[in-house]
Amino acid sequence: MAVDIHSDAQEQAQAQGGRGTLVPSTEHGDHLHHGEHEHDHEHHDQHWLWKYVFSQDHKVIAKQFLITGMFWAILGGTLSSLFRLQLGWPEATLEWLTPVLGKWISAGKLDPEFYLALVTMHGTIMVFFVLTAGLSGTFSNFLIPLQVGARDMASGFMNMLSYWFFFLSSVVMFISLFLETGPAAAGWTIYPPLSALPQAISGSGMGMTMWLVSMALFIVSQLLGGVNYVTTVINLRTRGMSMSKLPLTIWAFFLTAILGILSFPVLFSAALLLIFDRSFGTSFFLSDIYIAGQALSNQGGSPVLFQHLFWFLGHPEVYIVIMPAMGMVSEILATNARKPIFGYRAMIGSLIGISLLSFVVWAHHMFVTGMNPFLGSVFMFLTLIIAVPSGVKVFNWLATLWRGNIRFTAAMLFAVGFVSLFISGGLTGIILGNATLDIQMHNTYFVVAHFHLVMGSSAFFGLFAGVYHWFPKMFGRMMDEKLGYIHFWLTFLGVYLVFMPMHYVGIAGFPRRYYAWTGFDAFSQFADMNKFISIAAILAFFAQFIFIFNFFYSIFRGRRATQNPWNSTTLEWTAPIEPGHGNWPGEIPTVYRWPYDYSKPGAEADFIPQHIPYSQTQSSNLPYEKEQED
């Protein structure tokens, strides 16, 4: 039966001459245009190595990104549990960790330098490897071709390279964890001179070299991916899919990719200059340094210059992390509230506004670095303005829920959780963006709490929502809903129990990246609270294994999915349950309407997919839509 449909569809595709249906120039894609004799070889003619490992299929690449990202997330979470042990119980012996950590435990204590390595690697892994590659890599890859109606990315080969550069980068970073001198330990922002001088901290030896090499490879991967995403969205949209009919997911991925293309090269240059300073005796970031009994010859460099370069990427980076989540959450909220997203154009406008502003706020990370205070005033102004488009998004999400008919799938729970965390974390940005208040709050746990809520946990919630929502499309099976509920509630509670009290600790002025606060009078009052935070953090971390179990169990034994399990309107649900390479066996559907026709008055069902022409929905057409009835 399936084969019959397939062949019919292919004949149709041939008859239509592939009109508006760009086929990737791969062996496999070309195959779609071969004669009907070969069509039943569709799933047999590729060596498994090309099908599952060096695949050029965007869906396989997406899964590769997702699973690699999950590996990194578990590792990043484990590292955070380790340093939360230290912060919660600074007096306790950690002798029992010796079999794992070896010499990094001495006399039952975590080595302070290794503590710094832990926070550095936790940050690096979570920001870049999980929430950039794992989130945007997975869903941009998976959803862009499927939702714009393309057979694959513009360049399948480049897309494959993008994953393998990421993989290579991951391997290098992973190996650096096992170095004698330890991995990079200068903080995830790797400010020189600390990151430039092995004399200053042992992690700035080979560990830092590998960090920089890994990051250079990572940036190559991001650029290959980003160019592909942008090209695909601009060129490969199916007939009728104008920019104003794109789902908000695609708008978010599109703008995210542009941010990445424009900002990652700047980090590349910073990394390159740092490599020069470290290895070839240049002085871009070094000046007037006396260390380890020696005055260095470097003169005239500026550590603050590095911070400008780093944050020119680093700030757009947080939007690279959060915008895909915003896009997916918009989609999931609308689908499950059975309501059009409120203010579609305002949502696009606010995404564009956030994208533009994200390039001109970077120095709010540097108010107290000694840069000119006038610059501080300018960046405070630009930073606080970004609250306006962010607020518009939140209000639109709330308005989307208003008078909806809400189904709480696991994805929907995480989407609602996302909005909550984004509100809680975003608002404290108004404090931190104020240069005056930042004098006190800079580098305290208030900052840590802020960004873990607004970009860390929120983006994770977006990631979870996305996985629960698009799992049926990815694997043709459903994830277990009940385990999803349990996972959500434990995580949601856990995140709040960890990060709300962390604000108190921050308001009291506790500095971040401190191995212990016991040496200071000023930071002595919250020992119990830190214990509480640690317990909550470790429990929340363990709750994630429910998700891991659910994910892998459901891949193999989950309930079989139907073609459109959420009654959604977007194009990916018109493809077969498990689409082959090329996504649609026949012609790619044509798009007639925007992606949010949910609960339209007069319509039979409570959703009208994008590929249904207005001529078939005369009972529900709005006045201006009547003109488009064919």
């Binding site: 829920l401 909806g404 709480f408 108004i430 009291a508 401190y514 930071f523």
Partner: protein, 356 residues
Amino acid sequence: MTALAILLVLVLLLVVFGLLFRLQILTSIFSGTFTRDIGMSNSVNAVLFLVFLVAGGLWFAYSFAENFNKMNPPIASVHGHAMETMFWTTMGVIAVPFVLCHILLFFYSYKYQHKDGRRAYFFAHNNKIEVIWTIIPAIVMASLIFAGWKAWTRITGPAPKDAVVLEMMGKQFNWLVRYPGRDMKLGVVNYRLIDATNEFGFDLNDNAAQDDFVAPEVHVPKGHPVLIKIRSRDVLHAVYSPHFRVQMYAVPGMPTRFWFTPTTTTDEMRAKLGNPNFNYEVACNQICGRGHFAMKMNIVVDEPDDYVNWYAAQKSFASQNPDVLASFKQKAKSVVSQEAEPAVEAAPAPLASMSH
């Protein structure tokens, strides 16, 4: 061996959980509840959101109030009090959308949960509402920006001419402090001259450096503006003193500064807090290596008279280290002085008004 046993138990437990899970699925298939229907679980989740709103809100309010004193350590500088007001005002402002948005979010989740036969209200956009909720936050932001900008320019503006001047230099892993001595001029320092004795790198060929003295802790007079000049000699550090609301990076190769006016002496604060061991502290707040978490210096706020006395009793670095001074005299025409930095700007006598 015990580790192995624990591992075995854990694995067995996981297997048991896995089997239970499988069993639950199989029974639900047999009992016919395995198909996706929007039923009980939907309303349970909806109610849980409402419970989360109420219980979570109460917990947060309670724990916030309970910890309020702990998160408000005493403040002892003029701008610190102003910042404190601004901080809690801003917190109050952001509390409004925080509470309202959460009430709406969770209440809507509860109220508009799925009901059979009901259809969502098709309401795609309303430009008037969008304009309203763009403009109102913009106005609020504008006023916050204005207040922040005014305070920021005042705090980071030039220090008053009569400010007491001292310099802190960060190194792995402690702070060094020097005062300008009798001439009220900080002398030239050069990182190439640093060694185990001359930790600051004083260039004693410079007359202004000859009477500079170093101190084991920072002393500042109450009620007078204090200008801290900040340097680092190796990696980045940051002078952070939460009680004074002071923070500024120490950057190698780029001197920075921060000025403030202390309002309460150390003794007064000890009496006020009932803690005889209380000290104002400087912590390093920019990751600087292994000892980052222990890089501490005390600040003593004296009554102005005590400060003048303390200042007068200090001995210059040169007089305490005659051999260093002698070696400078020997190579008086060394290249070093050519590399010396331009003289640091002059500072008037500390407490000129006080030291009659």
